[in-house]
Every structure is written in structure tokens, then in C-alpha cells.
């Protein structure tokens, strides 16, 4: 993902700077245009991190998936899409969460949706909260042309054994849902309970396990 933002290395900044001539610069809003993510390209740009997946593990471009929102599909604001992962080795640290998602685009008005806030949580196997972060969906899932693999970099979080990554979309972005091949590791997290992520086939009335297209990346 390409993001441009303002950064300052601080060792030589002093209060005396304030008396000097100043200019104002409005910078990074326009740079949202650079935040688009090609799924394949993203994977190639992060070779140093090991990405864990709990879906069928086939290439996303080959996957049968749709987009899901806890708010719009289930009518719940505080429900999160949870995926259970297992740390691949002792000392493994989670450093990024990636998700296939899309905040949408209005073709008729050629406009993006307004900013809205989603929430990310990392919990251990007992659902104790390890990390929590809220941010605007458009910084990760903005696209004119459909879903992208958004990456949310986080400070390294040490995890052992099983752990959960939970995305609360709050209606701000729809998250990828593999429509079949459920591995049993995707859930709806609501009120402290984990409910298996499933859908009912409208034609056969069959209950089918689904997978959230959420990755945990670290090393």
C-alpha cells in the first residue's frame, strides 16, 4: 500500500522555530489516490512478513466470494468479523492485519463515500483484549473499481497459541466473505460470544460455512 504522509524527525526542532517564517501546507488528502492496493502487488511487497490465512487459501482472484457487512447484512453495529489464527512459532508477533474490503464508490456521482470509523481488535484464545485500534475506512479500503486488500499496520503484538483478529465494519466498508469451503475459523463476535460464520443457501436451505477474507501478518 502506498501512503504519503507528513513525518518529522525531531532531534533538531526547538521552540525557536516558531518565530520563523511559516507556511501552511495541506498535504495528504490528495494522496488518498495513491492508497489503492492491487491484491497481487500487495502480497509481493511484503515478503518479510508471514501472512496467515484461514480461508481455503486459494488465490483471491480465483475465489468465490462476496462482500459482507455486519451492519447491513445482520443489522448489528457492534458485531465483529472474527478469525481465529494460530501463531506459527514461539515468539511470533502480529504486525499487520490485511482484509479484502471495499468502502464503495458511487458511479453516478463519481464520488467516494464519506469517512466512517471501523474498529480492529486482537484477542488471545481466552478473548482477552491484546490490542485495539479505530480508524477511518477510506484509508484502507478506498477504490473506484472494487475490493482491495487493505493493510492495517499495527505495533508488534506478541501472540502465542490461538488468537483472534476481529474487524468491526460498522457499515463503513464491506469485507470479503468466501462463500463456501468454511474452515470453521471464522465467526461473528457479538457480546462476548463467538458465533460460527455461516450463510443459508436460498435455493437449498442448506447452511454453509463461510470464511472472512482476513489475514494476520507477522514474523
Amino acid at each position: 500500500m502506498i501512503i504519503v504522509f507528513i513525518c518529522n524527525k525531531l532531534s533538531n526542532v526547538s521552540k525557536g522555530d516558531y518565530s520563523m517564517n511559516t507556511i501552511m501546507k495541506l498535504s495528504s488528502l490528495c494522496c488518498l489516490a495513491l492508497c489503492f492496493i492491487a491484491i497481487a502487488a500487495e502480497a509481493a511487497e511484503k515478503p518479510e512478513l508471514t501472512a496467515l490465512r484461514q480461508d481455503s487459501n486459494i488465490n483471491y482472484s480465483q475465489m468465490n466470494f462476496s462482500l459482507f457487512s455486519s451492519l447491513y447484512n445482520l443489522g448489528i453495529l457492534n458485531g465483529g468479523m472474527a478469525v481465529k489464527f494460530s501463531a506459527p512459532k514461539a515468539g511470533w508477533k502480529l504486525q499487520a492485519v490485511r482484509a479484502v474490503g471495499w468502502s464503495g464508490y458511487n458511479e453516478s456521482t463519481q464520488s467516494y463515500p464519506g469517512d466512517g470509523v471501523f474498529l480492529l481488535e486482537v484477542r488471545d484464545s481466552d478473548m482477552n483484549l491484546l490490542y485495539k485500534f479505530a480508524d477511518v475506512q477510506n484509508n484502507y479500503f478506498l477504490s473506484e473499481s472494487g475490493p482491495v486488500l487493505g493493510e492495517i499496520e499495527i505495533p508488534a503484538v506478541a501472540v502465542t497459541g490461538d488468537f483472534y483478529v476481529i474487524l468491526y465494519d460498522r457499515g463503513t466498508a464491506r469485507i470479503g466473505m468466501e462463500n463456501n469451503n468454511g474452515t470453521g475459523n471464522s465467526f461473528i463476535y457479538l457480546g462476548g460470544d463467538l458465533v460460527p460464520a455461516e450463510r443459508v443457501d436460498p435455493k437449498t436451505n442448506e447452511t454453509i460455512g463461510v470464511n472472512w477474507m482476513i489475514e494476520a501478518a507477522g514474523n
Binding site: 525531531l10 507556511i23 501546507k25 484509508n139
Partner: protein
Amino acid sequence: MQLYGWDGYNGSAESAPSERVLGLEIRDKDLNLLYKFADSQIPYSNFARNATGIYPITIEVPSVPVSDEFYVCFYDRGAVAVASERLNETSNNSFIYVADGLPSAEKLLPAKLNVNESTVLPINWIMTVVGR
């Protein structure tokens, strides 16, 4: 962390800013992420204080141990314009950070303003940190 900025409010009702979410990161000298924070700009910027111009924006953060050099990265996301100091030569301490897509050695670009097609103006961001 404190910087000087302006959210566009000039005293008129029409200029009252829409809520946006800014971002703040602290990274070590190798650009590893140590702390990350996002919030509305409203509680921090000049509008909430009925100030109509450039104003100090202060964001308190939990204690973050840092050693040697470190970076504070501020994402204005269009919420505030950040003040900068004009320089005669390229800054050694202020950058535009390109998070991904480039090798680590090329992620930090000198902070500058494009005056016109042939002229750029090196700058320092006006930011400070406080700790002990």
C-alpha cells in the same frame, strides 16, 4: 506531541470544519511501528478553541520508550494544514514518508513544497515532542 496547524476555521459558520480523522505514528530509527493512534481532529484543533488561525495542536500519548533516533509521523488526511518552516537547504529532519512500495532506504523523502514546475522549497515541519 505538538504541532502547529489550522483546520480551516476562520470565525465564520461556513468555515466550521467537518469532522475528519487524523493519524499519528511513532516509529523507531528503523521505521518499525511503536505506536499508532487515530482520532477526530476536532478536539485538538483551533475550531474547538474558537481560534481562527494557526494554533498548537497537542496530542498526548501513552509513555512510549524510545532510544536513539525516532520518528513522529503525522497524517493530516485533510483535517488540518500543518505549519512548516521555510529553509534554504534540504532539511535533515523533516520528511514525507512513503510507507510502502519502496525499499526502506527510500521511504523518507525530503520535506518540500513545489512552488512551481522548476522550483521546490525545502521545509521543516513545526513539530515538537515532550517526554522524560
